[in-house]
Homo-oligomer: 336 residues x 2
């Protein structure tokens, strides 16, 4: 019997997570019961939202249990199937998380077409990341040709797709990140119109220069003072999808700043938090559209792939140092 | 020739406005040109939004000019008409503001049916106040039967109508005000389910008791710490129309507090600033519906009427002391 290696939440972090919050365990893999498959993990996704689930408190997803496997998106290959819908060798995507072998209900798996695009994209542009960008930007932000769209965390997985979708819709796009590498990529590879480096630029001046006509859509991945500065520049009827607040996830104190209500009132603007799961019924159509743009070359997928199961915690912690360009993945095994 | 008495903005207030910010002037009334009418003012509306227009900075409406008449809603009677659409004696509503006689373009006037309801309601429940409550609550808040709707500034002009509309829609309604008089009226006359007095109750405890199932719609007239406390209790998919921020209008420093983005994200909630003018095309239908509820007795209009043109500034300043129950009007003359 094969052994399943898994990474569990060993303790809840206070502030920034550390390697000691995780523990590695091994156990024999079990056989799939009727309607289940045994999957071997090929790629694991690490995402900022996981930080929220490491806390005990109320968040938009159920907290991870201490002692339980770190859940999250993964791509794998079916090793053994006891379900009609999958055969040995099939590539699938699901939420079984940080483990090398998993028994999963077939109904919770999505089949991945390996002819369509590299299978890792099922965790990125053709997965939750792409859908998050798609629905946040298009269903809430609804950018119109010529409008100014500002994206914070623009060099991250979601941000890069948002920037490109906004360009596809004919908007003028301004990307904010904390790295020259990311900003060069955004401008030179993705055609973003202007970039701001929140670490090295004088933020207010740089935004003023980058947004001479104000801001019509602000896609917010980061929160905090960067958002304060963008919100001071919104136009009448601006739309502000709240996707993430990565600048806050490791804060120990409560998040204080200028209240936003007066700005929303003065500009009759809309701010909305969202989760990709709210749009589940429209996801198949959205994935088709994203795949079309990918195949036409209008949408590029930037991936940052680290190899090795044991490096998953390191890849996850790297999300908070601001160094990851695009979607952060960990490659665990090769397709057979 | 009759004399027009008018009240002008004499200086911009710093913080709370004072009587010295206004000045009284007299001038001969002019005759209406073709397409205009000369109107004698019967009632003048005083509203919190006027405080914003007294500032020089960007707001949702153009600032008043120093030396110009204080604009705003009024009801009057046509004294002389040079327009086909109105005759001498007609009752009309318009935005000519704080003056006893005004020459107004006929196209900007709304005819008032004095059989339908008392003519003062054209400035309240059947005017901008009613429409503000209607669109903010119904178009943005969209309360469903059994949901909990919290209204701040519930004893004010807009708040009282919001509370009643939410009851009409089958919601459980919680009103927040700073006065026992207002809260008694809300409970006993308007059927509000629970009330909170932000001046005398322990706010967190009182809200917790008043909202055992959380908050689905928060209609915000006040902002500040009252809103912070309500927002801590919102439910998944909550809707938050931002109608006013009266607690801030006289603040000299910037408005700091807990940032709301994480709460909106965690609850996939929507917050939207709005102005009644954004819904102009739907207003005739909304007024019909409001008039229907008024005639059926489902909607009561509470008015607080002060008599005398010279008391308009006093009536306006009273809005910020929290003493006004319902719509604050000043009666300037009798119908002839």
């Amino acid at each position: 019997m094969s052994m399943n290696r898994k990474i569990i939440l060993d303790s809840r972090p206070q502030g920034m997570p550390e390697p000691r919050n995780f523990a590695f365990q091994e156990e024999p893999a079990t056989a799939p019961a009727a309607g289940e498959v045994l999957v071997k993990t090929l790629y694991v996704s690490v995402d900022p939202y996981m930080r929220g689930r490491m806390n005990a408190g109320k968040s938009y997803a159920k907290p991870y249990e201490v002692g339980g496997v770190m859940g999250g998106g993964a791509v794998g290959q079916v090793v053994e199937s006891a379900a009609d819908s999958f055969s040995k060798g099939d590539i699938v995507s699901g939420g079984w998380g940080w483990q090398t072998l998993a028994v999963v209900g077939a109904a919770s798996l999505r089949p991945i077409d390996r002819e369509l695009a590299p299978i890792s994209t099922a965790l990125g542009v053709l997965g939750m990341t792409g859908l998050t960008a798609y629905f946040g930007l298009l269903a809430i932000g609804d950018p119109q040709p010529g409008e100014t769209v500002v994206v914070s965390g623009a060099g991250g997985a979601v941000g890069m797709i948002v920037a490109q979708l906004a360009k596809i819709k004919g908007a003028r796009v301004v990307g904010i990140s904390g790295s020259e590498l990311k900003n060069s990529y955004l401008k030179q590879e993705l055609g973003v119109d202007a970039v701001v480096n929140y670490k090295t630029d004088e933020l207010e001046e740089a935004l003023e220069a980058a947004c001479p006509d104000g801001v019509d859509v602000y896609f917010d991945n980061v929160g905090g003072e960067i958002s304060d500065a963008v919100l001071r520049r919104i136009n009448k009827n601006a739309r502000i999808p709240i996707c993430g607040q990565i600048s806050l996830y490791n804060l120990k104190q409560s998040d204080q700043g200028p209240r936003v209500q007066s700005i929303l009132l003065t500009n009759t603007a809309l701010m909305k938090g969202f989760l990709v799961g709210d749009y589940a019924k429209d996801s198949p159509q959205a994935l088709k559209e994203l795949a079309g743009w990918l195949q036409e070359g209008k949408l590029k997928h930037a991936e940052n792939i680290i190899e090795g199961f044991e490096r998953i915690p390191e890849a996850f912690l790297g999300l908070f140092s601001g160094d990851n360009l695009g979607k952060q993945l960990v490659k665990v095994a090769e397709v057979e």
